[in-house]
Symmetry: C2
Subunit: 305 residues, 2 copies
């Protein structure tokens, strides 16, 4: 019988799960709301039900279950900590609980890391072993893949790309820093810049994009500023890692043509390594599915170690 | 018979070599000038003579020879490229040549990476597997140790810590960037700041240090500025890697008490991860010997793979 694994993507609003073959084909999937208000046990129950449903539907040999969750993961314990979206799970032995209920191997991973792993497995990074993913959203998340695996750091907090300093005296950030990348290049930052330069008080990044498409010069300048901030961060990443690939994903990606020229120009001028090596900065190709693919890849990868 | 390896440290001015036991004890050492003007063959001859001398002197089982050299190393080819100090070696098959002459395994490594490996093996990082070394000198070099090994990147150019952007509109750098860390925190940068703020036109970083010791406020402010720049870079490194240890080495280290308070304050305020994890920023302890130890460790480590 064919082997497969189940990936679960637990977000602040949605719960998705998919059975995926070990060659990366989606065999079945389920998606619904994450009923966080109903409490931790209800959410765990929903996850277990979704997994059981997929398992019954697909048949075959289950290699294991991978779960991408927002928050830091204490890898060796299989525990989530410090997730603003999942306070009820803080410190809870989620991995062991689900393993016990299902009798299958469970691997937890931070959602941005899972997305990076998904892009590496079957997306923009499928030809490399070393890459960095930057996810542009409310904030900017990141995942670093080194030697084909997630770089975790000593307590699983590596990859906080969104909190790299790009403007030392820049916009204050909730993390305590000033001028974090995510304060200058996330979807939220785009809205914020639109307000500051008088383009509009409550514009989404998508609305700013539509204005840029329509030829609005202020909207275009916002994406240029965003591209510059991304370029400063990317140049530093290239100088530090000398990885062959840097992948961008997230909501503002359709605005690529407005921010990428400034981004690439800035990276080029700030990184000797970028100018002198084969280094690519590209769009992600799996979109919202990246985390689901990456989660499903976790138990497959765990067996390789 | 006891096993040992030979480390070679080839710099722009000095050539040093040492026979070191696999437990890190120096058994014998040689140091002299690197006679680069005499040409490539003469330098290679000097290295081979030094190695043979050590081998004859020490006896025992030679595990291999490691060499730290300034420049990029194409690891799989054992070739040095783009070294301003060693133009005659550019593209030359140095590893294979020395292996042939001596009948022993040779491993080449960039000098900053070798120093990082030395500190990891037997110095400030001996209790960790993941660390970053920053070497403050004319420029700022760096070496990243991940999982006990040097992080090379795809063509061996990883670890260019000195070219992280810390001041986007800062001092221009030879690499094409502005505001590189090494333009704001190296020994050269200290001399440069002394000139700019009118402390003196041709002061070495050591002289600026002596003025600070004597109570000179301008000299103190220079080290504060240096500490701030280091802190911006360190916060970004901590946010990216979440490694437990960051080690500083180099000439300006005696000025630690003048630059470290600003450095640590800046790192603390800019890194959530630094404030919430056990993360150390410390002085290197091997000094100039780090590269020699790291070079000797290379063949030992190569056998572990």
């Amino acid at each position: 019988m064919a082997e497969y694994s189940i990936g679960v993507d637990l977000g602040g609003t949605n719960l998705r799960a998919a059975a995926i073959s070990t060659s990366g084909e989606i065999l079945a999937s389920i998606s619904g709301r994450a009923e966080l208000k109903a409490g931790r046990d209800a959410v765990i129950g929903d996850m277990v039900n979704a997994i059981v449903k997929l398992r019954d539907q697909v048949g075959g040999v289950l290699a294991g279950i991978g779960m991408g969750v927002p928050g830091f993961i204490i890898i060796e314990k299989g525990v989530i900590v410090g997730s603003p979206n999942l306070p009820a799970f803080d410190g809870y032995a989620l991995r062991d609980d689900i393993e016990k209920r299902l009798g299958a191997t469970v691997v937890l991973e931070n959602d941005a890391n899972a997305a990076a792993l998904g892009e590496k497995w079957i997306g923009a990074g499928k030809d490399v072993n070393d890459m960095v993913l930057l996810t542009l959203g409310t904030g900017i998340g990141g995942g670093i893949i080194s030697g084909g695996r997630v770089l975790h750091g000593h307590v699983g907090m590596a990859g906080e790309i969104g909190h790299m300093t790009v403007v030392p005296d820049g916009n204050p950030c909730g993390c305590g820093n000033r001028g974090c990348l995510e304060k200058h290049a996330s979807a939220t930052a785009i809205s914020g810049m639109a307000k500051i330069i008088g383009l509009g008080a409550d514009l989404t990044s998508e609305q700013v994009f539509n204005l840029a498409v329509g030829g609005d010069e202020k909207a275009k300048r916002i994406f240029e500023a965003m591209g510059k901030a991304l370029g400063i961060a990317l140049a530093t990443l290239v100088n530090i890692f000398n990885f062959p690939l840097y992948v961008l994903s997230g909501g503002p990606l359709p605005a690529w043509d407005f921010f990428a020229p400034a981004m690439l120009q800035e990276t080029r001028s700030r990184s000797f390594t970028f100018r002198n090596t084969e280094t690519k900065i590209v769009k992600a190709i799996l979109g919202n599915e990246a985390g689901l693919y990456g989660a499903a890849y976790l138990p497959v990868l765990a067996r390789k170690s």
